[in-house]
Amino acid sequence: MIEKAIVGSRRYYGGLAALLALIGVGFLCYLWQLREGLGITGMSRDVSWGLYIAQFTFFVGVAASAVMVVLPYYLHNYKLFGKITILGEFLAVPAVLMCMLFIVVDMGQPMRVMNVILHPTPNSMMFWDMVSLSGYLLLNIVIGWITLDCERKGIAPPRWVKPLIYLSIPWAVSIHTVTAFLYAGLPGRHLWLTAILAARFLASAFCAGPSLLILLCLIVRKWTRFDPGKEAIQTLAKIVTYTMLLNVFFLLLEVFTGFYSQIPGHMHSFTYLFAGLKEHGHFYGGLIPWMWSSAALAVVAIALLLNPATRRNERTLVVAALAVFASTWIDKGMGLVVGGFIPNMFDTVTEYTPTLLEVGITLMVWGIGATVLTVLYKIAVSVKEEVAA
């Protein structure tokens, strides 16, 4: 089926070329970082995780969302999703790949990455994160590829694929739970030390992922002869509606706990994010515009999604999906990860702004993800077109 990836339209080649150029530029930035060290980023002794880990955290969520189409179809026979399970799985693959790449570019000594495997440490959540991400990547590649190949040949998939598919459902939940556990078990970081963090992660994953899937389905319908199905997209929209509501609700629960109890540790990070902190006459509020944009986008998204008319209308649905994606990207990425480090363990503030090189390296990883996504989708769509013919 790989031959489907090397033959395509002008638009396909053009898109891949642009992405490869982006990757090339980003790779030069990464070489610079390898030479000079992570000092070229905006990270500091106080904010020791930044854009890279923020992206990692967000895209783990996008990856988990494949389960949102797999579960209804395989466990509950929801036939409408039959056409798009492959799109969900082939979205999970580049998303997980991006997660792993973001970890690698964030490491101070990436050549030593094998140490995590050579010296397994079961008490470390990061070890289990590696295990669960690698496993999920393998599962989705194998399941996606085999089912697609069998569909092309017009035969039923082999019997051993079914247990793998069933396994991928709790596994998807686990990759996100483990990633939340990375944060939720750390004493001292009060923005993260909350039981609801894993639930928040899952809720935002299950709205961010399917909203991206909606956008991708609409693009696929526009640019190819494969139609994922209007009703399937509508069901995804309903899923996004309720998970986005849950996501916002969970955030508000956190805000209540902090501000009703008035416990400083529970309030300070939120105060910094949404209102800024004043310290020794200096005002720190760098993330305020971002957080309120995220809030506004969430309101717009929910308004458009709750209203059946705007949800059914695919133009407004695009706006809603983009708004959900952007809102969760800000909230889970910059908001959660950077916010957790501010104020620091001495109750002072060191702000964080990514540098251009850092953004360049991030765009490299985005480019790699987009390239893998494009190639996999091309294969899937070409096979579907071939079968339909």
Partner: protein
């Protein structure tokens, strides 16, 4: 011999795996016979069941008020080749001074006595009994020794900085840049390695000095003897004597990390 493509790929794949696997297995075989396997701890080494330190803040503050004393900080920086970095974001510090309100963030109030308000307190790695940094390290590059010291293995650190997120005390520093660029090569102490960019570091209770029978550099250099270092499990040690007779506090006790740096205020 007509081999079809699928079988050919299978055979060559298995053959490659076998070849690579046997190469890798060779690495796992024990080293040659003439390399003896006997290792001993240094006879001069100072031993303890649980190393701890008491900071006598009163003595320390008196001296600091007189002449801005930073002898312990300078000694540690010298002995461990700690770079002087111009950008505060990339600071590397193992022991340093923080204001009273920041050292005990969350534990103090606005009406603190004048003798303490705004004054510089020494902060360093607490070598916790239940260290969250050790719990989260994915490669065991930071680990707890039997004598209580939380050690760093710079060889193994992958620079993921998870330990920095986990430490509730902000004790850890990361080498964002090559430290050698900010070290005076004439002043570099050859006995202790510098570190490379991309690894995390922190106070190690001078484990390398303890191994030679010496006290930690900060303890040794303090003229006021404000830093008391000893075995917490030895009821006759100086640390136990001080803790028995004076009121002491620790940073963030509610977190259950059991820090082993006590402050006598």
């Amino acid at each position: 011999m007509a081999v079809n493509r699928r079988d050919f790929l299978r055979i060559s794949g298995l053959g490659t795996l076998l070849g690579l696997g046997s190469m890798a297995t060779q690495e796992l075989l024990p080293p040659g016979k003439a390399l003896a396997q006997q290792y001993l701890p240094d006879g001069k080494a100072l031993k303890a069941k649980r190393w701890a330190m008491v900071v006598d803040a009163r003595k320390c503050l008196e001296k600091v008020e007189q002449d801005g004393c930073r002898d312990c900080v300078l000694a540690c920086n010298r002995v461990h080749n700690i770079p002087a970095l111009p950008d505060p974001k990339h600071e590397v510090k193992w022991i340093w001074q923080e204001r009273y309100e920041n050292t005990f963030a969350g534990q103090n109030h606005e009406y603190a006595e004048d003798a303490l308000r705004g004054k510089p307190f020494l902060v360093l790695c607490n070598h916790c009994d239940k260290p969250p940094c050790v719990r989260v390290c994915p490669t065991q590059a930071t680990f707890k020794r039997d004598d209580g010291i939380v050690m760093m293995d710079f060889h193994r650190c992958i620079g993921c900085r998870y330990c920095m997120a986990a430490c509730p005390y902000g004790s850890r520093s990361f080498n964002f840049v090559d430290p050698r660029k900010h070290l005076d090569s004439a002043a570099t102490d050859p006995k202790f390695p510098t570190r490379m960019k991309g690894v995390v570091e922190k106070c190690n209770f001078c484990a390398e000095r303890l191994a030679e029978g010496l006290m930690p550099a900060c303890v040794e250099v303090c003229k006021e003897k404000a830093l008391i270092f000893g075995d917490l499990e030895d009821p006759g040690s100086e640390v136990r004597k001080v803790l028995r007779s004076r009121y002491s506090i620790r940073r963030k006790p509610e977190l259950g990390t059991h820090p082993e740096i006590f402050y006598v205020v």
